[in-house]
Symmetry: C2
Subunit: 432 residues, 2 copies
């Protein structure tokens, strides 16, 4: 064959066997990301707006907290009656990803939305990411049916839904895209779904912020010191504390969940008991700062002196809320735990309080979900690029020191964090 013919052949091969398949792949996932991203972003907008009203209502009608046990019963009953197929929540998404069996019922979305809003209305302590991810995953997975997608495509669709939900609920598209890839397996990240995740995360975030004009709280780290060796050495104990706090958070949630499941057989009664304890403690303390999302306290932790035990109170309240069967996410309470712990550490560690609060904000989350890169990106998206190295190092340390624990019991251990635990490879966190 002449050289000219050979080159022509290579060129044709490149066009038809590489470029066109890649263009087709991009076009397909652009269309899916546009549809799923818009839907999930809109669902997040609806959720965030309702959550705002519900929180406002509770804060101006504090008597409603008295009805927390009744609200709990109602949530428990709804899930018991209509939601047994979707009650595993985030873990269910992980399990369907690992081992696809049946399409996530669409009702997961309205049920978790309703459950979360009721939890917040009556004064449970919970977050938002579980709700967003479950809405995202459930909405996205319907396209498996409608578009008749095969197993591999289905995995991508679930990833796309998670990316869209996470990105839009926190207003952090890069973190959302990377979270959806990173949360699947501890210690490993695979790139098969990277383009669909980025597209969906960006589009969902735009739908929520740009179209529905839902805005997110802004946090500020006004001064970032030079990153010299002394400061590196101070980040290490801080990161370790954040990792241990993440571990405590995860273990407490699982403990209460296990305890309530064992002691109370009829599921709707579990949140009743949990609700009684939480409501009683609110009136005992005489302060609502540990319930709901806790955004005002998170904001305060960047600038004011707070009691050192705030993070422990939040862990206790949230683990009791979620462990007893209320609905919502863990992530905003994790932000709260981290930011207030960072605030407390500023008494010992000579770094600016806002920096410590910001490091804790994302690092405890990193330790509890085992997603250090997504959390580093989230820190940058929320606080700017300047504190990036402080945040990155703290997230990695928290990831290491939370050990093989985490809020998602179904999360697989792909690469153990420390070579001493190679036997744990391939196990789920909940099996340890």
């Amino acid at each position: 064959m002449s050289n000219r013919n050979r080159n022509l052949l290579l060129f044709n091969k490149f066009i038809f066997k590489e470029l066109i398949p890649n263009l087709a792949y991009t076009a397909k996932w652009l269309v899916l990301a546009l549809i799923i991203g818009s839907l999930v972003g809109s669902a997040s907008a609806l959720f965030l707006t309702s959550l705002y009203w519900v929180t406002q209502y509770r804060e101006t009608h504090l008597w409603i907290i008295l009805f927390l046990p009744i609200g709990g019963f109602f949530i428990g009953w709804i899930y018991h009656r209509f939601g047994t197929s979707v009650v595993k929540g985030n873990n269910q998404l992980l399990e369907e990803y690992y081992n696809p069996l049946k399409i996530i019922p669409l009702k997961m979305a309205p049920l978790v939305l309703l459950g979360t809003l009721l939890t917040h209305l009556f004064g449970g302590s919970a977050g938002r990411e579980g709700t967003a991810i479950q809405m995202g995953g459930a909405i996205a997975d319907q396209f498996t049916k409608w578009f008749n997608l095969k197993s591999d495509d289905r995995k991508m669709v679930i990833t796309v839904g998670v990316a869209a939900g996470f990105a839009s609920v926190f207003g952090t598209p890069l973190a959302g895209a990377v979270f959806a890839l990173e949360w699947l397996i501890i210690g490993r990240l695979r790139y098969e779904s990277i383009l669909p995740s980025f597209l969906a995360a960006i589009i969902a975030n735009y739908a929520c912020e740009g179209i529905w004009l839902v805005h997110h709280t802004e946090y500020l780290i006004p001064t970032v010191p030079v990153f010299d060796i002394i400061n590196v050495l101070w980040v290490i104990p801080a990161g370790i504390c954040f990792g241990l706090a993440a571990r405590l958070f995860s273990k407490s949630t699982h403990f209460w969940s296990y305890y309530f499941n064992k002691k109370i057989k009829y599921p709707p009664f579990r949140p009743v008991v949990g609700g009684v304890i939480i409501a009683a403690s609110v009136f005992l303390i005489g302060d609502t700062k540990y319930i709901g999302l806790g955004i005002p306290t998170i904001v305060d932790s960047f600038s004011q002196d707070l009691p050192w035990y705030d993070f422990l109170m939040k862990i206790a309240k949230t683990s009791l809320t979620l462990g007893s069967g209320f609905k919502g996410g863990e992530v905003t309470p994790l932000f709260y735990t981290g930011a207030t712990l960072g605030n407390a550490l500023s008494a010992i560690i000579p770094l600016p309080v806002a920096l410590l609060a910001g490091m804790g904000f994302v690092s405890v989350f990193s330790g509890a979900t085992n997603t250090p890169l997504a959390c580093t990106l989230m820190g940058i998206e929320l606080f700017g690029a300047e504190p990036g190295v402080f945040i990155g190092l703290a997230c990695v340390l928290a990831y290491l020191f939370s050990g093989h624990s985490g809020i998602y019991n179904s999360q697989l251990i792909g690469s153990p964090k420390n070579r001493k635990f190679l036997r744990r490879k391939g196990k789920k966190i909940g099996q340890l």
Copy 2:
């Protein structure tokens, strides 16, 4: 066993089996990262400072470019005489990582430093990352010997050296840390070395910038538009062009390398011929903008109108320089290619020229090294958090559209980028 005893046992197990091993691990790698990071950061400082002087000298004594063929012979001869065991450069680091055989000779560091400085002095077109990574890897790997490290620790040490080299030569610690994890296997990222990489990258960058006071060029993207759907749709063709440019860059370098190896048997003659062609073209064109690092043109591409073919000229010059056996890295020429291509695309794509230049800067690099996350972080570290989503999406697209090509022939394909190419899994780029 009583509950109290059981809890005590669990607590002891946590302290002695988890916390203390993790603390020991952190302490060990902190010490290693401090030593290796300081050494590699200092080596980068020496390299960057010498490179600055060499470039200044060439630009004020242009006649020296006439001696490029002689300089080429000298580099070729040194490597032929003393450097056959280190001539594979970055690929050698990858191969030792996959299949550890023998410690990288320390002489890799001075040889690549000398080779790169001579290449730049006489007017070759090359970059810096190869030099930094090889110095980092070679310095770090000596600790394998001195500390008698085992195979797994050795993999970490190589990763640490790469992270330190990359971070310090570009002033981007987060990108350096993630690059060292991400370049190892296409489509996968593993977290075993995440803490050592972060520590070493941060320390090396501080050594270079904070101790030796070596500063990096600053780039500015003054306006970032809202990321609405229209802009998402414009990023897609841009990202595709960046990916294809990355592919052209990689393929050209490999083509010239193959061609010179085939046609010229005595290695020192190869850069002589390459040098004659490059020197002749410089005097023919009457401009030195396509040789050396090309930083002034990269800076210009953020604000001025440049000829549309600048990126092609740079690809031609660099592939000829490196393919014929001169030394240096590919990354700064990749920045150049991307930034000037972005500049050219601003004639068609209605995005700010600085944004397109910045997107190209990191995206072509992402496509040519298959490291979209490191490049996204690099974009944020260089240009700030605001253009982050534009940069992230462009990097991911460039990663996809460069296909299974790249500047590192030894790079393993872990997860093929498109499911159509599942058969390529486990192969090296150079084998395709």
